[in-house]
């Protein structure tokens, strides 16, 4: 069954969307959209270095994304209000990565697949990495779910309940870096942020509790991945952007529903 490239692509999209949805909820609740952009853009630098030193690109992406997320976290403080600092880092990391990819002695890499993903060429190994990563992401979030929610509402409230907000937030840093590493194949560095934010934003009007929002976001993300791939195959459009456009359409529908009710 995994011999078919479209089946592999659908499984890859599904795994990424399911992992990104609950994390995307935290990105929305904590206003970390720019933070996630900066983190995912930094992955290009990691991939360039990984290719130059002959290690796995996914590992390179994971390492730089993690370091970037850690650096931003410590630079801007917990509440992440440094909008300008994040803008500088997000675009600076992207540009530096592209320059490094040109300078380093590496085989010519397809910039387009880095920036927009290459889901139709996903291999069995890639699938294993994506689903393995997705399981780790979901397990980490589930294990610290209530602590993360409490810290998101109010760090001091969390401390008074015996939760260390800084340690708890490390979970977000780790899962964000993991998400970047597994989502590059699927949507590319430019659209990872979309996969995080759009399903969560679309789920918001339909949910009354955080758990419901995460669940609905997962459904919307999965539907976008599967539906987007079908449309891409049918209309011969680029897969990653088509997935994001499908999510965008579902977001618009949920807004319409909110306005009507």
């Amino acid at each position: 069954m995994l011999d078919d490239f479209l089946t592999r692509a659908m499984l890859a999209g599904l795994g990424t969307a399911l992992a990104a949805a609950p994390l995307g909820c935290f990105v929305v609740w904590r206003r970390m959209a720019y933070f996630s952009d900066a983190t995912s853009h930094s992955a290009i630098l990691g991939i360039a270095f990984a290719l130059a030193f002959n290690v796995s690109p996914a590992f390179g992406a994971l390492a730089t994304a993690f370091l970037m997320a850690l650096a931003i976290g410590s630079l801007t403080g917990r509440r992440l209000t440094g909008d300008t600092a994040l803008g500088v880092l997000a675009h600076g990391a992207l540009a530096a990565g592209l320059v490094a990819a040109a300078l380093l002695p590496i085989p010519a890499i397809s910039l387009e697949s880095l920036l927009f993903g290459d889901i139709l060429t996903v291999s069995r190994t890639d699938l294993a990495v994506i689903w393995g990563g997705a399981v780790v992401i979901l397990a980490l979030l589930a294990a610290r779910w209530t602590a993360l929610l409490t810290a998101t509402l109010d760090p001091d409230l969390a401390r008074a309940s015996g939760i260390d907000p800084d340690r708890t937030e490390l979970v977000l840093t780790v899962t964000l870096a993991l998400t970047v590493a597994i989502a590059i194949e699927v949507v590319g560095v430019l659209l990872i942020g979309a996969l995080l934010v759009i399903p969560a934003a679309a789920a918001r009007p339909l949910a009354r509790t955080p758990e419901a929002m995460a669940g609905i976001a997962a459904v919307i993300g999965a539907a976008s991945a599967l539906g987007g791939l079908q449309i891409a195959a049918w209309q011969d459009t680029p897969a990653g952007p088509t997935i994001v456009c499908t999510a965008l359409a579902l977001f618009a529908l949920s807004r319409v529903k909110m306005t009507l009710t």
């Binding site: 609740w29 209530t146 602590a147 409490t150 509402l153 001091d156 008074a160 939760i163 969560a200 955080p210």
Partner: protein, 240 residues
């Protein structure tokens, strides 16, 4: 022994000394108010007591197994976070329905259980935060400026509710405020803070202390009387 005590506590924040050799002790069942101007270290002191600030000198001694209910200075939930009051009260630990109802009842927030947190008014939010702090039957309630954003009758009603909670559950209450007049008459003891403890004692004694007058002037006497006046009547403040 005291529920909690601070011994010669010194806390540095952002390179400056926010608290200098502060000592205090809270006894079971008493209501203590910390008053002080802005930047006097009131919030820092409260945060040190819940363990959110690490003192550079001195220490905090808690009675073994002390349970603390903490009411932060308001809550600004992001509108993108869907959260019913009921769900909020079960964070981070799940609570039984009976526990939830009892806490909401005590805090005067029984009608808010199914509302969204982000839709609540300032006064409603404070009552919900109080309900959350009451879960787990705390021996000590810590409140940071609990009436910020409430009007005068609203504040007075909130403090009367605190008194009622203390009388019903026997928990001690330590609160921080700059609303001297309203707070002080509801307190057993007042601690006047300005980086260090300026003076402390019964409300009327502190109000006439020279250290207190130096910080706040003498203009609060009339307002103190205003609260006493309100206290004598039985207005309905439930609709604050």
């Amino acid at each position: 022994m005291s529920l909690i005590s601070a011994e010669r506590l010194t806390v540095r924040r952002d390179g400056r000394v926010a608290l200098h050799h502060v000592s205090l002790a809270i006894e079971p069942g008493e209501i203590v108010t910390i008053v002080g101007p802005n930047g006097s270290g009131k919030t820092t002191l409260l945060k040190a007591l819940i363990g959110a600030e690490v003192p550079s000198e001195g220490r905090i001694v808690r009675q073994p197994g002390l349970s603390i209910g903490y009411v932060p200075q308001g809550l600004r939930p992001d509108a993108t976070l869907p959260m019913t009051v009921k769900r909020f009260l079960s964070l981070p630990a799940r609570r039984s329905k009976a526990e939830l109802n009892s806490a909401l009842e005590h805090a005067g927030a029984a009608d808010l259980a199914d509302r969204q947190l982000a839709d609540l008014s300032g006064g409603q939010t404070q009552r919900v935060l109080l309900a959350r702090a009451l879960l787990g039957a705390p021996q000590l309630l810590l409140l940071d400026e609990p009436t910020t954003g409430l009007d005068q009758p609203g504040s007075a009603a909130f403090y009367r509710r605190l008194e009622a909670v203390r009388n019903e559950t026997g928990c001690a209450v330590l609160l921080v405020s700059h609303e001297l007049h309203v707070v002080m008459s509801a307190s057993d003891r007042v601690i006047c803070l300005n980086g260090h403890v300026c003076c402390e004692g019964r409300p009327d004694a502190v109000a006439s202390a020279p250290e207190y007058r130096a910080l706040f002037g003498t203009g609060t006497g009339g307002a103190l009387a205003l609260y006493r006046h309100e206290h004598d009547h039985s207005h309905d403040h439930a609709a604050e």
